[in-house]
Structure formats: C-alpha cells, structure tokens
C-alpha cells in the first residue's frame, strides 16, 4: 500500500505558517508588508496543500487508503518511545480546507482592517502562530499532539484577545479566556493521562494498536469500575470537559463573549470559525471513544447523552441571552456559543457527520457575519452598539448584501442557505433520538430564537434611519445602559460626524467569497445528496431526490422552515415596522422588564462566578498566606524562641553556678600567679643574681653527688 505524497508531507501544512510566525517574530516593527506577505503567502501555500490533501482523501474515499497515518518518535520513555503522528482521513481533510480557506480570507481582510495599527506585524505573527497550531491540531494523530496544539491555540487566543493590551478590559478578557479554558483543559489533561494509562498509547490510529483502534477500545470497554466509575465514560467525559472549555459550552461559556475585546478578524477566525469549533472537532475525532458503551451494557453511551444535553441546553441558553444584547459583536458571540451547542447536540444525537457538517457551514457564515460586523464597525468609526447604527444598507451595500446572506444562513432560511441544511440535519437527528425528545424541543426553540435575534440585529443595524450622528447629544446616553465589560467607545467624538462608509475592497472581497460558500456549501449535505455525510463515513453516495420525501425528513424540514420564518417575522414585527429611535426602550423590555434584564445581564452568571470561584480563590490565597505567616512561621518562631530561652537559662546557669566555681579558681590562680610573677619583673641584675645563686647551688649539688657515688 503506497502512501500518497500529500499524506507523507502533510506536516508542511502547519509548519509553513509556523515558519511565517517565527520569521515575523524576528522582523522589526516597520517591516509590515513583510509580515503580512509572509503570513498570507504561507497560508495560500497551505491552502493549496490542503486542497491536494482533500483531493487525495476524496480519491481514496471508502478504500483502505482512506486513512493514512504517519507516526514518528518523539522521545524515549521506559522501554519504548512516546510517538506522535499525523493522519489524513476525511475528517482531517475537510477541516484542513475549511481552516486554510477561512484563515486565508481573514488574513487578507485583516490587511485592511488592521491597516492603521502600529503593531500590524505582530498581529500577523500571532495569527500565523494560531493558524499553525490550529492546523497541527487538525492533522494530529495523537491525543498528546492534539493537546499540545490545543494549548498553543489557547495561547494565541490569549495573545490576540489581549492584542490591544493597553485596554484594561482587553487584558482582563484575555486572562479570563485563558483561565476559563484552562479549567476545562486540566480535566482534559487528566482524561489524557488516564487514557494513556489504560490504552498504553495516545496515538489515535497505529496499525491496529492505536487508542481508537478496535482492540484498545475493546480493552477499555471491559474496564468496568475503577474509582467507582465506568472507565471509558469517565475518560470520555474528562476529555469532553476540554471541549466544553474551548467551545464555550455551559458552564464554561463565560469567556467567549468577553473575548470580543480582540480585533474583529480575531473574533471571526478564532472565536467563531475555527478555535471554538476545535472542541467539536475533538469530540468528532475521539468519537469512537465517546460512543463506547461498557461491555454488556445495553443503554446508549453515557458520554454522548451528556454531550447531547449540554449542547441542547447551551443552544437555548446562549440564544436567549443574544436576544437582549446590544453590542453587535456580543450578539454574534452568544450566537456562536448557541451554534456550538447545536453542533454538540448534533454529535451527541446524530454522530460525527451531523456535527461536523454544521461546524463547516457555520464556520463560513459566522466568519462572514463577524467580518461583516467588522466592516460595519469600521464604517461607523468604531461604534459597536447596534442601537446607535441603523439604515446602513444605503451606505454599505456590499456589506449589507453579504451580511444578509450570512444572517439568513444562520436563521435557517430554507433551500438556498447552507445553515438550513446543516441545522436541519441536527434537528432531524434529535427528532429521531431514542433517549428523550427534549433536546429536539430545545433545538427548535433555539432555532426560533436564532432567527429572532438575527432579525432584530439586522433591523437595528441596516434598516430604519441612521442614528449614528445622535451619539453626540447627551440625551442619547440616557437610553443606554452601562453594561459591565463593554468598554466605552475608543475613538473621541468626531466633530463633524462623517457618514458611515463602505469598507475597502480588501475587506469586502473576502466577504463576497465567504457569502458564495455560505450559499453553495449547503448543497453538499442535503438529504437528497448527503455527500458530506457519506464522505465522512466512507460510503458511496448518489443523488436520490426521494431522500427529501421520507416522512421524518419532510416533517422536520417543515418545522424548521416554519420556525425560521416565525422568528424572522416576529423580529420584523417587533423591530422592523417602525423606524427605531435611540431613546426608546427595547420592545421586549417594555413588555417584560424583569425577564429582559435577566437576559441582558446574562442570567448573572458572571456575577455568580465572581462571588463563588473568584472569591473562593482569593479567600484561599489569603488563607494560605495567613497560614504561612502565622502557623508555619509561628511554629518556627516558637522553636526559635524556645532555643533562645534555653540559651538564656544556660547563660544564667553558666554565670551563676558554673562560673562561680570557675571564677573562684581563677581568682586564686591569678593571686598565685601574681606572686610568681615577682620572679619575672624584668630586672636583669636580679635574674643574674638568681642565676648565679642557682649555679652555685647546682655546682654544690653535683660535687655532693659525685662524692656520694
């Protein structure tokens, strides 16, 4: 079995942007074109390679070559080696093309968007690093390599959210994003080491020996209890915790809306299209593990049930918050959270293809929406509050047209928009789910609210009359509520408010390309011709129009069509009929003020976390510090005091008892010494006298001695 060149050299795809990042990190600040050119060039080549890889995967679809794996040694451990590797299979190929394509478009867009930023070069350096880590994550054939890239992706997200580091809100948001996702990541890490211990390898596929290959899975499934939990389920749930953090699922969703502090291209690329979808991709990648049921069990995989529920709840929860937001990017951010919930729901109830199809379509239309929002913000002089926009369709026709396409895709307008087909797949799978019907109802409710809040946003931004000039009148401030976390507009008030203007072609061209894909992609996954699904599952597919008319399919399609139009109609009826005015309170707020406040304040989740987790951490730190100062240090001080005390007693004993005797002796010694010293008073005559006397005595003695003998 011959491996393809593209599979063998798949590593080039992440390494090219990595090189670009490294080189532009070393470049000087003024070498702007160098950094941008390098980033875009490397991404373009990566896209070509990704397309080649995709072609390879399509060619081998359904054959034994449909999964090509290259593993290599990383380091020695024990008797063996820890190995990493990459894999080319349909899942990788699809994701690669999406990331490269969306990435390239956003890179190009950024040249226009960031044109006036002094740290232009560094922006592209970080973006390239991000792209590299993201692509590495996509091709990884080892959970370890996956985790490494996953963390680097988190780092770049941190760096890019905090790109305008001088804004305290951006610095805080960056930190919040990193910490919140890290909570999930640490559970993920435990899941990884647990899986490593159980399966003996972290390679996904390794000629039948990998942890997702059948023997390892069968081995895992027999592990019923350890620590009182079913092992495969526990591991799967721990890994899922990582996905919850990265993909902003409940209860770790709080960082994603704050991440909108970053520049808009970052929001589009990282916090809409790719990185946040990495959690969904993770679940898709380790799906065999997630779907594992303990041997002998007849119920469904517990992990998938949890995933489905978390996804469904997140979808509704975030969509309801989006209804009451007024910041153009935050609405989209909550929408992203909600759509990620849909993807998770799709994975949980339907399988890889269902979740992944929505991931791909969402990446295109959400990137489109974010970049459109960026274009709006750019055109409105950094205004982000939708209540201060209005009527922009006249000023920004291209942005309006593309934004409308994105909005309709997101709302699920039937037939011509990809969002409809992919969301429909999810609802269909939820409808067919055997465990419970509730996720389906939640999904429908979420879809309704999605259509509603998107219409609300469209009405605010593009319809009615332009309210942009009003921002100078003090009265306009009364209507606005200071939301925590939303910074005051950056730019000083312009004296003669310029009219909103259309963005340069560098920014609108990518919008048009994305809009094109937003429309066309849907046709790759219709029930009539489910190409994406069968590609991912390695089956053959043919056009079969009858697929549309199957009873379940048609029913769900009807329901979602009705829901989409109801949402849009409701939104238009409430917000679109009369020209909006800045001073008036929100229509919903007039009707249900308490509920609206609850939604606008995001169910107070941030506040609750502030009181509980942040407070707990601060309390814990204080307690540790206190322990250190008073208990440990106190014990040491006590011992020290004891030693000093003993020393003092010793001294007293010494001086009063021991030394008294000693002193007496010394005194008598010194007296006798004094007496003796008289012999040594230094008078030479005296010495000589004594010497002479002694000599005489000696001589006498000797003589006497001789005689005696």
């Amino acid at each position: 079995m011959m491996m393809d060149w593209t599979a063998r050299n798949l590593w080039l795809i992440p390494v090219l942007p990595l090189l670009a990042a490294g080189l532009s990190a070393l470049a000087r600040r003024r070498h702007r074109r160098f950094s941008a050119g390098l980033a875009i060039g490397s991404m373009a080549v990566a896209l070509l390679l990704a397309c080649a890889a995709f072609a390879t995967a399509v060619r081998h679809s359904g054959t034994e070559l449909s999964r090509q794996v290259v593993n290599f040694r990383w380091f020695e451990l024990g008797d063996g080696w820890v190995r990493l590797g990459w894999v080319l299979d349909p899942l990788t190929a699809m994701m690669l093309v999406m990331v490269c394509l969306v990435g390239l478009l956003i890179f190009i867009y950024s040249v226009g968007y960031m044109a006036h930023d002094e740290n232009f070069g560094r922006f592209f350096c970080f973006l390239s690093l991000f792209a590299s880590a993201m692509l590495g994550l996509v091709i990884a054939n080892s959970l370890l390599l996956f985790f490494i890239c996953w963390e680097v992706v988190g780092l770049t997200s941190y760096l890019l959210i905090g790109f305008w580091y001088h804004k305290p809100s951006a610095a805080a948001a960056a930190k919040k994003a990193f910490i919140t996702t890290r909570i999930g990541d640490l559970a993920f890490l435990i899941g990884i080491v647990w899986l490593y211990g159980q399966a003996g390898t972290l390679l996904f596929y390794d000629a039948g020996q990998g942890c997702l290959d059948k023997p390892a899975l069968a081995g895992l499934a027999t592990q019923i209890t350890s620590l009182g939990v079913v092992v495969p389920t526990a591991i799967a749930l721990l890994i899922f915790c990582g996905a919850v953090g990265k993909s902003g699922q409940l209860p770790l969703h709080v960082w994603l809306p704050d991440a909108m502090e970053g520049p808009t291209p970052v929001s589009a690329l990282i916090h809409a299209a790719t990185m946040v979808a990495a959690g969904v991709f993770l679940v898709a990648r380790v799906y065999p593990l997630m779907a594992l049921t303990p041997a002998g069990s007849h119920s469904g995989a517990a992990a998938l049930v949890v995933i489905a529920w978390v996804g469904a709840l997140t979808a509704v929860f975030a969509a309801s918050i989006a209804v009451a937001q007024t910041d153009i990017k935050r609405i989209l951010a909550y929408s992203t959270v909600s759509q990620l919930g849909f993807m998770m729901l799709g994975l949980g109830v339907g399988g890889v293809a269902v979740g992944m199809f929505h991931l791909i379509t969402h990446a295109f239309f959400k990137a489109l929406l974010f970049m459109g929002a960026g274009s709006v913000i750019h055109g409105c002089h950094e205004e982000q509050d939708v209540r201060r926009m209005g009527g922009l369709r006249k000023f920004m026709p291209v942005t309006f047209a593309t934004y409308a396409i994105g909005m309709m895709a997101l709302s699920g307008v039937p037939i011509f928009f990809s969002g409809f087909w992919s969301k429909d797949e999810i609802l269909h799978a939820a409808h067919a789910w055997s465990m419970s019907r509730w996720p389906f109802y939640l999904g429908v409710l979420g879809a309704l609210m999605t259509a509603f809040y998107m219409t609300r946003q469209m009405c605010f931004v593009f319809f009615g009359k332009c309210r942009l000039a009003l921002r100078q009148t003090p009265a306009s401030e009364q209507g606005s509520v200071a939301l925590p976390g939303i910074p005051a507009p950056e730019h000083p008030q312009v004296e003669h408010p310029a009219e909103p203007h259309e963005s340069p072609a560098l920014m609108t061209m990518p919008l048009a390309v994305l809009a094109f894909f937003t429309v066309t992609l849907g046709f790759l996954g219709t029930p009539a011709w489910p190409w994406v699904q069968s590609f991912l599952e390695g089956e053959h597919t043919a056009l079969n129009v009858a697929g549309l008319w199957r009873p379940g399919v048609l029913l769900v399609m009807l329901i979602s069509t009705v829901v989409a139009f109801t949402g849009i109609g409701l939104g238009y009826w409430l917000y679109g009929r009369d020209p909006l005015d800045l001073q008036q309170t929100d229509v919903l707020e007039r009707r249900w003020p308490n509920l609206f406040t609850l939604l606008r304040r995001k169910y107070y989740v941030d506040e609750i976390y502030e009181w509980t987790f942040v407070g707990l951490n601060a309390w814990w730190a204080t307690a540790c510090d206190w322990l250190d100062r008073w208990v440990w240090e106190g014990a040491v001080e006590l011992i020290a005091a004891l030693v000093v005390g003993i020393g003092w007693v010793d001294r007293v004993l010494d001086e009063q008892v021991v030394n008294r005797w000693f002193d007496e002796t010394c005194r008598s010694l010194s007296t006798s010494g004094g007496l003796l010293s008289r012999f040594q008073d230094g008078r030479v005559q005296k010495y000589l006298r004594v010497l002479g006397l002694a000599l005489v005595v000696l001589v006498l003695l000797l003589i006497w001695g001789c005689r005696a003998s």
């Binding site: 451990l77 930190k175 640490l186 435990i190 814990w620 440990w632």
Partner: protein
Amino acid sequence: MNAVPWITILTSIPLAGGLIVINLPAEQKKLARFASLGVSFLALIVALVIWLAFQKSSVDLQFQELHNWIPTLAVQYHVGLDGLGLLMVLLSAIVVPMAMLASWKIDDRVPIYFGLVLLLQAGLFGTFTALNFVHWFMFWELSLIPAFFLIKLWGGPLRSAAATQFFVYTMVGSVALLLAFLAIFLATNKFDFTELAELGRKGTLVPALSEKLGWRELTTRRLALVIFGGVFLGLAVKVPLVPFHTWLPTAYSEAPTGTTMLMAGLMSKMGVYGFLRILVPIFPEEMRWVLTPLLWLTVVSIIFSAGAAFAQRDLKRMLAYSSINHLGYCLLGVFAAMSSGAALATPALEKAAALNGALLQMFNHGLTAAALFWFVGLLEERGRGLRGLDDFGGLRKVAPVFCGLMGIALFSSLGLPGLNGFVGELLIFKGAFPLAPWPTALSVIGLLVTAIFILTILQRVFNGPLNEKWSNLPDLNLQERVLLAPAIALMFVLGIYPQVLLGTINSTVVQLAQHLKF
C-alpha cells in the same frame, strides 16, 4: 575506571578557580568577573564533554573514581555519574554562568562575591557526583557556606535575618541527616551509597539497624522510621516541602539576584536529588510505610504554595512560592513511583514516566526559575528597586522585547506545551495518575492556580495602560538580549525536542524503576 579523572577535574576547576579569585585584591573587579566567568565556562565545556562521552544506553555508573581515604571508617573518595547526576551537573554548569552574568553589576567586594559563587558551584558538582556519604556531606555543606555569605553580605534590607534563618534551618536538617547516617554506619559499617542501596534493595538494612542499634523502647519499624525521618528532614528542608519551607521566601527575596538564581535553580535541586540518590534507593521500605502521608503532604505543598504565591505582592516572593509549587510536582512523581502499582498492567512504565518527569522537571525548573529571577532582577534594576506586582503596569508599550522574553519564561513556568515546562509535568502526571490517582488529580488545582497568578503578573505588570512613571523605562539592550537568548532558546529546544535530555536519563530511570519492583 577510566584514564582521565573527568569528575575530579570538573569539581576542581571551580574549586581552584574560586580559591584564586577570592584572594584577588579587591580593586581587581574586572579581572575577578571575567576570570570567574571564564572558569565557569571552562566547567561548562568539561560538563558538555562528559555529557558527550557518557554512554547513554548504559545503566552503570560511569566515570567512576574510587580511592581509599580513611579505610577504617569506610570513607572513600568515590565519585561517578549516572543519568541523574549528569543531568544535575549539566544544569549547574548552565545556571552558574547565567547567575554570574546576572550579578555583573555587583560592585562591592567583587572578587569575594564571584569567588564564593565558584565555590558554591564546586559544592554542587561535588554533591551531584559523590557516591560516598562522607564527602557527599562535605560538599553538601560546602555549598551552604557560600550561600550564607552571599545572602548575608550582598542581600536586601533583611539580609541578616534571612541568612541566619536560612543557615540555621538548613543546618538543623543537615545535623539530622548526619546523625541518621552515623547510625547507619554504626549498624552496617558502610558509607557508600551504592553499597547501602544494595542493602536497601535486599531489605537487609532494617534488620541490621535493629540488630546493632536495637533500643528496647523502639520496635524495629520505629527505629528504622526514626532514622529515615532524620534523612527525610534534612532533604525536605532543602527542597523544601511544606511545612519546612518558611526560610525560603525570605531567603529568595532578600538574596541578590544572582544568588537567588543559584538557590532556586540549583540548591533546591540538591534536595530532590537527595531523595532520588539516597531515600529512594536506600530506604524504599520505610518510604512505602509512610507513602500515603508523604503523598498528601506533597499535595498540600503543591496547592498551598500555589495559593500563597497568588497572595503575594512582591514578584520575587511570588516566584519563590511558585518554586515550592514546582518542586512539589517533582516529589509527587518520586513518591508516586514508590507506590506498588500492582493492579496496573505496566507499573514499571508508569514509574519510569513519573521519575523521568520528575528529573526533567528538576532541570526545567532550574532553567526557568533562574531565568525568571534574572528577569525580575532586571526589572528591579530598571524600576529603581521596585519589584511589586502593582508597581508597574503597561510595560509592554515601552519594553516590548523585555515583556516578550519574560512572557516566554513565564509561560514556560506555567507549563505551556512547546516550552520546556510542559513535558516534565506531563510525564509526572502521566506516571503518577495511575499510581496515585487522587493525590495526582488534586494536584491539578496547583496547575490552575499557577496559571492564574502567572497571568495576573502578565496582566498587572505588562498589560493595561502604561503607568506614566515608567514612560522612560529602557527596553532590553542588545547585550542583555544576547545574554538571555541562550536560556530562552534552550526553553524552546527542550520543549520541542525533550529527547535531548530524556535520552540521557531514561536508562538510569528505567533501572531505578526496576529496583522499585517488589
């Protein structure tokens, strides 16, 4: 036995150099600085030569030298290196020149300062190569004395108290260690680590102790535990393990930058090294008796020190507590490797992973902590003596390169993949989790809190609006960049290709893990 006594050469280079430099006249500042730097580079070269000549696949002690010294007392000059010792020698050879460069601006009694640093290095080399207790202990103490004077003479405002506390604390530990070894000698007539390890492995040490020293009041087990406790105390103070750590924050924060680098980067490793060289091989049984409390003590140490670090407002104290936290992971790996793992499929592999991780973490922490204290020293120098968490703000605007490089070091300390800190922690967790699931799972909290306080440093010092007071703060100059670059580069190299070190230590670790089989 080999023709060239490489180890003796290695240790005597800084010893002789130190003695010469310390006796230079006080006004020969430049000469003293360059001469000592030269000597430390020479030692680095010799260490690298030894590394290259080291047989990586062999499990035996290499470069052994064995000479009788005081035969009646079983005192021999016995030195040798395995992967563990070599790793520490390399680390010492790398960190000492870094510390010297960081101390370049010291202007008071220069020859004495640099001479003491060299003597300290000699003590470290001696400690990491000695295989006989008596001269191991001599070098162990030899490294203590220069450290004391370095703090006492060149430290911050509280230097006297800090130095005394440090010295007395460590001395108490050393005395306990010495007494324990005298007891062992009385029982076995041996001072040689390899011979004692043989006894420990066979399990004959405990009976020998009770036979020769049996006190009526103490059962065999208690006696063995008392002696074990003495050795443990001596090493735990050095690491340090909570609650034997209170000397550390003051000592680290009062010592001059270069000395802090030596203490955090190298001297703390002596403790962990002692655990691996002495406690694990010689007292495996005793350790198993008290393994559960030891593991939980480690968990407390990890979580507690992370929390305490978060509460600090002085960057040096923060990093000091963070050091305790990081070394806690080393000990977690070591202790986890002592548990039986009988229920596991591959206990030897898990133990090897935990121990490899612990060793790697020692090296990585040595490098990263030294670099971080260096950065704080540079910041203090620029900040007119200030180094509080809230004294700065927005420095990225005026000193982007400084912030970038220090950011890399901080993320390395946080354990970001791609940088050196990650692999060690990963291996520790990989090995420790199956062997001791709950302590390991709880230790993860330490990783989280570490992330929180490291990002807090980044947020308060580097991000946010620029504190106008520092609008003229100079960025790193070319010379500083060149000096720091190797350390930063090494962080990347070890993060991306850890085989550089793991290839050296793996065989030793595998053998150690095999000896822990039972």
